[in-house]
């Protein structure tokens, strides 16, 4: 074997390895991007589920909570606000508002024993608290997959492939969750 063909062979081997590596990184990035997309659609499904539950809840509560018109109206207004937004950043704040309004509503509802005994209301309450859990778990899954995609985009050497093919970092979804904020107080 002459020196030239040896050189050619090494060159081809390096080129093939490089190509396989780039293809691997590219596929991984696409996989992660799709995963982020999936996780986001799961959040949207759960948010919509929450929006759909609220009118029923208000309807059931109306009869019992005639003196709490303001609380009921604030929930309805927050729902309308949450439905109308589009961008991810706005969703966070609008849904946060809705969560706050709902928490307040539930706290007020606690004072109405008749309402709390209503089977329909109890069923709706279970669905609502389940939906809150689903939103927060879906959010966690979304943020996990965002973190993985963003790491891949930022880290060397996959960042070269990512910038060459125009992969963009995804924004995390932070929701003001009243349950998480209200951590148990420790007293000594």
């Amino acid at each position: 074997m002459t020196g030239l063909s040896m050189f050619l062979l090494v060159f081809v081997a390096i080129a093939v390895t490089l190509f396989l590596y780039i293809a691997g990184v590219y596929n991984r990035l696409v996989f992660l991007k799709n995963q982020v997309k999936n996780a986001w659609s799961q959040i949207e499904v759960q948010l919509k589920r929450r929006h759909d539950l609220i009118p029923n809840l208000i309807e059931t509560a109306k009869g019992y909570m005639q003196h709490e018109r303001q609380t009921l109206e604030s929930v309805t207004a927050a729902r309308a606000g949450a439905i109308s937004v589009k961008s991810i950043a706005d969703v966070s704040s609008a849904e946060g508002e809705l969560s706050k309004a709902l928490t307040k509503f539930m706290a007020v509802a606690e004072q109405y024993p008749d309402l709390k005994a209503n089977q329909n209301f109890l069923a709706l309450q279970e669905e609502l608290s389940s939906t809150e859990n689903r939103i927060s778990f879906a959010r966690q899954a979304y943020n996990d997959s965002c973190l993985m995609l963003n790491n891949k985009i930022e880290m060397f050497p996959s960042n070269i492939v990512a910038s060459r093919f125009g992969f963009k970092k995804q924004a995390f979804f932070e929701l003001e969750n009243p349950m998480e904020k209200d951590l148990p107080k420790v007293s000594f």
């Binding site: 996780a39 799961q42 759960q46 069923a123 279970e126 669905e127 608290s129 389940s130 859990n133 689903r134 927060s136 778990f137 879906a138 966690q140 899954a141 996990d144 993985m148 349950m179 998480e180 209200d182 951590l183 148990p184």
Partner: protein, 412 residues
């Protein structure tokens, strides 16, 4: 996230299962030698590799038959044997919702089937070969004693058995153990009934070497099942810890599972109907609570499991579980695959999502469990204005009924 654990888990279990496979092969080999050597005392030359190899082949065939039956029929046999009823959303919205929440948290591709078992003892188990084919079974007793957070902890524990493909590995291991026990039992028993050599001449054609081989084969027959059992239970215990850790991470609320385990421990019930071979699949051993560390326990000591979960005060990540595990057991064994531990990963523990759980009163919870079972079986519940709760069986043909307390007439 979870696929890293699955990959790492696979490797470890494959090693343990390979060890069990080796013990099965050794057993088959000695069984072959034993059989040929004993039945043909004259055939000195036949104690060869050939008789051993055919022993191995027979052992493997026995195992394969057990495995195939287990993989294709065990789920349905198990479910019908324990009289399990498949659940829809309307029957018990809370359980259904809790499972759905955990499916979202674990990013599972498919919702598992949910079954309820008419059993007063609180317990739960998972079936199915993997994330695409999962089944979760809970007893009515569990639903009666557990609040929402506790139920969530139990469901997350069972789901992680499905995600980690524990049921599949445990089935492979269990059938190997079954084959080993079957072969050694058969031989040790038949040894008793074989014609005694008392009347034959002491100076038979048996050489000294042959006697030694027979002795070795005999030892393998006795030690093989013991060793396989120890291996099997060690796989089982490790997977319980891992499922507890995954449950804490998924729910972000270790106290839920801890308090559910406590209630299971204190319930005082035993699942009398649970098939014994299925003990490792339950969240806690249905026959006896494993209180002490033992090589023959299917589950780690339940008190240890509770304590570990309760000492996770700083977070709900795998690292936190591992630290708590080290603290409680005093060992530094690496329980969770290193790769899956995201160092620095912080998962805050969330607040309890509910009012304080119901009182663990035995009478109240038994009544509640009974109502859950009746609900599933299609009973109608009529609440009379006199606060009497009338339960009407589905077979009733009458059109109306009179309240036994206040004599009001209710239309059905």
């Amino acid at each position: 996230m979870f696929w890293q654990i699955i990959a790492e888990n696979k490797r470890k279990s494959v090693i343990l299962i390979a060890l069990m496979g080796i013990s099965l092969a050794v057993l088959g080999y000695s069984a072959g030698i034993f059989a040929v050597g004993y039945l043909n005392p004259a055939a000195d030359g036949f104690i060869s590799h050939r008789s051993g190899l055919s022993g191995i082949i027979i052992a493997v065939i026995i195992w394969l038959i057990l495995l195939i039956t287990a993989l294709f029929a065990s789920d349905s046999i198990f479910l019908s044997a324990s009289n399990a009823k498949q659940l829809t959303h309307n029957m018990n919205p809370q359980l259904f919702n809790v499972v759905e929440e955990m499916v979202i948290a674990a990013a599972m591709p498919k919702m598992p089937e949910i079954y309820i078992i008419e059993d007063m003892a609180p317990n739960a188990f998972a079936l199915g070969k993997g994330p695409d084919d999962g089944k979760i079974c809970v007893t009515a007793g569990l639903l009666a004693v557990c609040g929402r957070d506790e139920l969530q902890g139990v469901v997350a524990h069972e789901l992680s058995h499905i995600i980690n493909r524990d049921v599949l590995y445990m089935t492979i291991a269990a059938t190997m153990l079954g084959a080993v026990s079957l072969i050694s039992d058969t031989f040790l028993r038949s040894f008793r009934y074989l014609p005694s050599r008392r009347y034959s001449c002491g100076k038979s054609s048996r050489g000294k070497g042959q006697a030694l081989i027979m002795l070795a084969a005999f030892t393998v027959m006795i030690l093989g099942p013991l060793l396989s059992r120890i291996l099997y239970f060690s796989i089982s215990r490790k997977r319980e810890y891992l499922a507890d850790a995954t449950s804490a991470r998924l729910t972000r609320y270790p106290e839920g599972l801890a308090s559910a385990l406590e209630k299971i421990m204190l319930s005082g019930y035993k699942n009398s109907e649970a098939p014994k071979a299925a003990a490792p699949f339950y969240i806690a051993n249905p026959y006896r609570m494993d209180i002490k560390n033992s090589v023959f326990a299917t589950h780690p000591p339940i008190t240890d499991r509770i304590q570990i979960l309760r000492s996770m005060t700083f977070g709900a990540s795998y690292t936190d579980y591992l630290k708590a595990y080290w603290k409680i057991t005093g060992t530094h064994r690496n329980l969770i695959p290193v790769k899956s531990i995201n160092i620095g990963e912080k998962i805050a523990i969330r607040k309890s999502s509910e009012m304080p759980p119901d009182s663990p009163d035995q009478y109240v919870s038994r009544k509640k469990a009974g109502d859950i079972i009746r609900h599933i079986n299609g009973f109608k519940f009529i609440e009379c204005p006199c606060k009497m709760n009338i339960k009407v069986p589905p077979e009733t043909s009458a059109e109306s009924l009179i309240c036994p307390r206040c004599s009001r007439v209710h239309k059905l």
